[in-house]
Amino acid sequence: MTDDITPLISLREGEEGIIQLVSGGAGLIGRLASLGITSGVKVRIVRNIGGPLLVTTNGTRIAIGRGQAQKIGVRRLTAESKQAESA
């Protein structure tokens, strides 16, 4: 299990991660928070092939531009860390 924080943009499709931090201006942070994108939240990447990212969290789908996705730091959930979490 790793505790490295990587930008959301580096996750591949189908991968999951827990958001650790959102940097950027207060406007961006507030906007993302109101959509449920904030630290501690689990997100799954649906689409990440050029263009904006599509992530799901809590049953909603949010499109995030690549620039903004760069500013969201996540801890990647691997198979083992998922097991550890459910245990």
Partner: protein
């Protein structure tokens, strides 16, 4: 009207929660649509009454939170703070309650009674989410009303709760979200310094929270009313605790988690929903883009397939109407001209466009309502980035193919002022139905068998030009590559006829009210200008104007009559055909036969290219000015179109001569 004071209720909610459905059910046809004073955001109001008790309902713009970063959110919070409505109905999407709870936390800080309306309970149920409204009500301390607005369920209870809340018959004890625990001391510290300076209508807890969030509006206001030394202390505390915003957000999510734990259970997580399956295909560019193009092609063929026959039928109807009226107008040349050619001609133009626009807007509203347009915006985002825009501008552009007027107004969905301007700036270059009608007619008359190829080439060039201008304009004007793009993709759902109907109605009436009146007025004006003083166009004012422009005509291969036709197109695109008909004395029907004799291929090409890129019709110009709001930007955009179309005309003419077209 009863002596009793009408209740003022505000309807609020995030986008995609069915807020307009609820508003439509409650207010029906008593709706009044206007603008928020000084803003380009729509303000909808309506009335509900039963048993002699009336409610005034104000529909607040859909917003995700109550920050000061978007116009919609600012309007919402200013309204609540300044108007203090008797209650707020906050509509939530039951299938994603967490998010609606976030905005609820913000509303509660404003200390106006809130009713939490849990809409789309059926959708939540399908997704395996079960919400116990009673338990949620206990946790939140505010009335919770489960609803399925699309099936008219829960509305009665909602109204009941509004009255009982407003009449003080509810135990209203809201639980509030605090800032995260590790920042409570800082909150208290700030409150100690600031509380004596927070004056009504602002509330202490709200103001302090906003200061911790770094809200620019409140920070600015407080910095002016708080003495310098106290303000310096506040600044020092905030600098030391740069993560205050995060603490506020965390506090809210802790509170939300409590609500979710107490009242919500999910029993089928991980089930593949219809939305996931569709999105798997539609958001993948390889499939998504061809499907989008296919859908658009279908929409256009449907629109024209159904709309054109009706259009022809309406045209003949108007002609027979005119022929019935004509004998009754007596012998006055002027009266007949003004009424038949001006008024009826202009009104007829407006009327004949309605069928095509109706089918087009209905198809677009259908795609929006089922949730598809958000996917279209998603797959188009990468292309829109090239021209300095993002996916959300795609919808206004699409509407532009119908009519530029609602398209320019549709640019309101864009939050950022710069993107909104650029979208409005580019929209007039999108060929609308009227422009396409003129192009196909002239191309068919002059190019015969090659007409179809020429028309398509013109449209393709037009779209290419939009791309080029967008690229250059965004580089020159904005110099910022990444425009923030954050958008929710709503769950797909069954179309709601009522919602679609209201959207279509709004866009059509926008066309009739804005474009219609101006087109009629300009038709009359155009007729007068082309007949005063002598009654014939050669020596008329318009003729004079056309001749004075003649020197400009040589490089683009146009004589003064064609220049007049171009000028006439500013009243409405199709007026250029009518003008040519009058100028060559053959009427609108004869123009097809006359055109090949008076226009060679090169001139015709230049004429069409200019027409595609020319200054848009007056109706569009009026709406552009209104939406841009700034004369300087508006006039630069106007001049740009004028110069661009002229330069392109020169290029097209020279090119055509060179290749011997």
């Amino acid at each position: 009207m009863t002596a009793e004071k009408k209740l003022l209720i505000a309807l609020a909610g995030q986008p995609n929660v069915g807020k307009s459905t609820v508003f439509n059910i409650l207010t029906g046809l008593s709706q009044h649509v206007g603008n928020w004073p000084g803003k380009t955001v729509e303000k909808k109001e309506g009335f509900y009454s039963s048993d002699g008790k009336g409610i005034r309902i104000v529909d607040l713009p859909g917003s995700y939170s109550l920050t000061a970063y978007s116009e919609e959110e600012k309007i919402t919070r200013d309204f609540i703070i300044n108007e203090r409505p008797d209650a707020i109905i906050l509509i939530a999407n039951a299938s994603s309650v967490e998010r609606s709870l976030y905005i609820l936390a913000e509303f509660l800080l404003l200390q106006v009674p809130v009713i939490f309306a849990l809409n789309m309970m059926d959708v939540a149920e399908q997704q395996g989410i079960r919400i116990d409204a009673g338990l949620l009500e206990k946790y939140l301390g505010v009335p919770v009303v489960p609803m399925i607005a699309s099936k008219n369920r829960g509305i009665k209870e909602l109204i009941m709760r509004i009255f009982s809340l407003a009449e003080g018959r509810e135990d209203y004890m809201p639980s509030m979200a605090d800032v995260a625990e590790d920042h409570r001391d800082i909150f208290i510290e700030l409150a100690d310094i600031l509380k004596m300076y927070v004056t009504p209508p602002y509330l202490t807890k709200w103001a302090i929270t906003k200061i911790m969030e770094g809200d620019p509006d409140i920070t600015e206001k407080m910095s002016q009313s708080v003495p310098a030394d106290a303000w310096a202390k506040v600044q020092a505390i905030l600098r030391q605790h740069e993560d205050s915003l995060h603490a506020v957000v965390r506090g809210r999510y802790d509170w939300i988690e409590g609500a979710v734990r107490s009242a919500i259970s999910e029993f089928k997580r991980g089930q593949i929903l219809l939305t996931d399956r569709l999105d798997n295909v539609l958001t993948r560019p390889v499939f998504g883009i061809p499907i989008l193009l296919g859908i658009l092609a279908f929409v256009f063929s449907l629109t024209y397939g159904l709309g054109l026959p009706l259009q022809g039928w309406l045209e003949s109807l108007i002609k027979s109407f005119a022929s019935i009226i004509e004998p009754r107008l007596g012998h006055s040349f002027w009266l007949r001209g003004i009424i038949i050619d001006g008024l009826i001609g202009g009104a007829g133009t407006v009327l004949t466009f309605l069928p095509v626009l109706f089918f087009f807007f209905a198809a677009m509203a259908f795609l929006e309502d089922v949730g598809y347009m958000a996917r279209a915006a998603f797959v188009m985002d990468r292309f829109m980035h090239f021209i300095g825009l993002h996916g959300k501008s795609f919808l206004p552009f699409c509407l532009g193919f119908g009519c530029n007027v609602p398209a320019v107004m549709g640019a309101r969905i864009l939050e950022s002022g710069r993107i909104r301007f650029l979208t409005i700036f580019l929209t007039p270059f999108v060929p609308c139905t009227a422009k396409l009608a003129v192009v196909t007619l002239i191309a068919a008359a002059i190019f015969g068998s090659k007409a179809l190829v020429i028309s398509w080439a013109l449209i393709a060039c037009n779209i290419l030009v939009i791309g080029l201008i967008g690229m250059i304009a965004s580089k020159l004007l904005f110099q910022q590559l990444h425009m923030p793009f954050i958008m929710e993709l709503p769950v797909y759902h069954k179309p709601n006829v009522r919602t679609i109907g209201i959207v279509v109605w709004k866009r059509l009436t926008a066309f009739v009210r804005k474009a219609g009146t101006i087109i009629v007025l300009f038709s009359v004006l155009l007729w007068l200008l082309s007949h005063i003083p002598g009654g014939d166009i050669d020596n008329s004012i318009l003729g004079l104007i056309g001749r004075s422009f003649e020197p400009f005509g040589a490089p683009i291969g146009l004589d003064w009559k064609m220049i007049v036709a171009l000028l006439a197109s500013v009243a409405a695109r199709e007026n250029s055909i009518a003008a040519l008909g009058v100028l060559y004395g053959v009427g609108e029907e004869g123009i097809r036969d006359v055109l090949p004799n008076v226009m060679n291929h090169a001139s015709a090409l230049s004429f069409l290219v200019i027409l595609m890129l020319f200054v848009p019709c007056v109706a569009t110009l009026v709406v552009m000015k209104q939406e841009i709001g700034n004369w300087r930007w508006f006039l630069s955009s106007f001049l740009f179109m004028l110069l661009l179309s002229y330069a392109s005309g020169v290029a097209a003419y020279q090119f055509a001569l060179r290749i011997g077209l």
